[in-house]
């Protein structure tokens, strides 16, 4: 009797519910909408949506980088406080994640709309309302808002494990604080940065709700198209082809990001 077999139920589960379904997705992607015969037409049709793929990737990339720039100082600040305060601050980052992201996005819509809270305020001051919503910037804002905690958490986990002695050593060796950051803190937080970027990028690139609510009629992202093929226009074959390509795309992006962390894969929780 070996302990190894304990993983058997898990493996069976994962094969049945993740590997097999992906096989079915591939099968749908390679069959015809009407006849069910083998075809490459669905995958060929995906080429029409290259601009949409580009746009989705670009907005997600932008959001990931902004999340990093915003999230790093926050994680650094949390990691620098007393353990007790750390716990409270960390909890406050986690808390929004437990609340319905649909409603939180809707609250942003209420803030930014032409007849929303901010514009009502502007109007009551006698100024012209601003076009705050229904543009790409609003979509990026929505993504940054929703996925920022996913960036802060792994960064914090890495920064908290950082050995103070290393920093002291660098200081003793005559490094300025900026130099310490550049030579010690930053390189050591690379695994956190990578896993943070991944955790923001993956949901952001495939979102459909945020673009529907915050974007204009022209901001159709790849998630919207996939959703529409499964929920509004009955064409699961095209939807499956798009899903397949999206999956490959994400895998490539994640693989590229992982190149940075010297093969050391860390997914911090």
């Amino acid at each position: 009797m070996r302990t190894k077999t304990l993983a058997a139920p898990y493996l069976v589960w994962m094969i049945v519910f993740t590997v097999v379904p992906l096989g079915i997705v591939a099968w749908f992607a390679l069959t015809d909408y009407a006849t069910g015969a083998f075809t490459l037409a669905n995958l060929a049709r995906v080429s029409t949506y290259v601009p949409i793929f580009l746009k989705s990737v670009w907005l997600a990339l932008l959001s990931s980088v902004i999340c990093l720039i915003v999230g790093y100082p926050v994680a650094y600040c949390i990691a620098g406080t007393s353990p007790r305060r750390q716990r409270v601050l960390y909890m406050l980052v986690m808390l929004p994640m437990c609340m319905s992201f649909l409603l939180r996005t809707l609250a942003w819509v209420a803030l930014l709309e032409d007849t929303g809270i901010i514009n009502n305020l502007i109007r009551s001051l006698g100024l012209r309302p601003l076009p705050l919503i229904r543009n790409d910037a609003a979509v990026v804002l929505g993504m940054v808002y929703n996925y920022l905690p996913y960036m802060i958490m792994p960064l914090y986990t890495v920064l908290i494990k950082l050995d103070d002695k290393l920093i002291e050593a660098a200081e003793d060796l005559g490094c300025t604080p900026a130099r310490v950051f550049e030579k010690v803190t930053l390189p050591l937080s690379v695994p956190g940065i990578i896993s943070g970027l991944t955790m923001v990028f993956v949901p952001a690139v495939s979102t459909f709700y945020i673009s529907q609510k915050m974007g204009s009629s022209g901001t159709t992202l790849i998630g919207d198209v996939i959703e529409s093929q499964f929920k509004a226009a009955y064409n699961p074959n095209l939807g499956a082809a798009l899903s397949l390509i999206l999956m490959v795309l994400v895998l490539v992006c994640v693989a590229v990001m992982n190149r940075f962390s010297d093969g050391e894969e860390v997914i911090a929780l």
Partner: protein, 278 residues
């Protein structure tokens, strides 16, 4: 620099909580328009409690979250133990499979499961496969990796001699697990279970593809609601949920703090060097 950083952090926290404030304020407003304050009322809250639909949906969500977290934790902990004992090659393959739901976009996971369930339904000639079972399966599937990824590191930190010692002292492997190992990896199990619970409670994208008419969870219904004129009692529900989660987090925090203090004290008493506090 440090003050700048502090101010910046405070602003980011404000940014994170702005929508909560908007929704909480809206829950006390008389009108239906979220952007216009029309006077204070508690009417939304009483409407919420008289509403026969929303609260059962919340119960549904909690049922799925608890069950899926529980099953995922048991399966995941077993798997983590098993993976530890695997040969490096097998372990790499298993971890690659574990990473699939983590790196796969949620929409792809949802779509693929929906296709699987519909396919199985067709094979078995059952018209209404989608329902509680499919929802539960989907949630367990995306919860499992979280549990594994939080239990594995704890197993790694554990002193391997502990198990051997237990076995030498006459424990069966099962006893060794329940008497020794489980205590060592408990924090990992708990944080995995908690993570699974929260992910499951607020999951919308995957549930949206695998729910059926007889069993709907709250986020799915909220999505349906956001396509219609939104009823303000949803804001009331949101605010109440926020308070409940805040409260439970605070309680957990206090318990954890007490636990840590006690452990620190016992360490002093027993004169141990104290392990790494994870």
């Amino acid at each position: 620099m440090k003050t700048f950083n502090r101010v910046f952090t405070a602003l980011v926290y404000l940014f994170l909580y702005i929508p909560m404030i908007v929704l909480a304020v809206a829950s006390f407003s008389r009108g239906t328009d979220i952007a216009v304050w029309k006077g204070f009322t508690l009417g939304q809250y009483s409407a919420l409690f008289h509403d026969g639909l929303l609260l059962p949906l919340l119960v549904n969500s909690v049922i799925v979250a608890v069950l899926s977290a529980l099953i995922a934790t048991v399966l995941g902990t077993m798997a983590a133990l098993g993976i530890r004992a695997m040969s490096p090659r097998l372990r790499r393959t298993t971890m690659a499979i574990t990473n699939i739901p983590m790196t796969n976009p949620e929409i792809v996971t949802g779509v693929s499961l929906a296709l699987l369930f519909a396919f199985v339904g067709q094979m078995l000639k059952i018209n209404s496969v989608m329902g509680f079972a499919t929802l539960l399966i989907a949630h367990i599937t995306f919860n499992l990796p979280y549990v594994i990824l939080s239990v594995m590191p704890k197993l790694g930190q554990m002193d391997p001699n502990l198990r051997d010692a237990a076995l030498d002292l006459g424990c069966t492997p099962v006893q060794a697990f329940f008497k020794v190992i489980i205590h060592e990896i408990m924090p990992g199990i708990l944080s995995g279970a908690l993570m699974a619970f929260t992910m499951s409670l607020d999951d919308f994208v995957i549930s949206y593809f695998v729910y059926g008419p007889r069993f709907v969870t709250l986020p799915v219904e909220i999505y349906n609601y956001t396509k219609k004129p939104l009823q303000p009692k949803i804001y009331a529900l949101f605010t109440l949920l926020f308070l409940v989660i805040l409260l439970s987090m605070v309680v957990m925090n206090l318990l954890q703090a007490r636990d840590e203090r006690r452990r620190a004290r016992s360490r002093v008493v027993f004169g141990g060097k104290g392990g790494r506090v994870g």
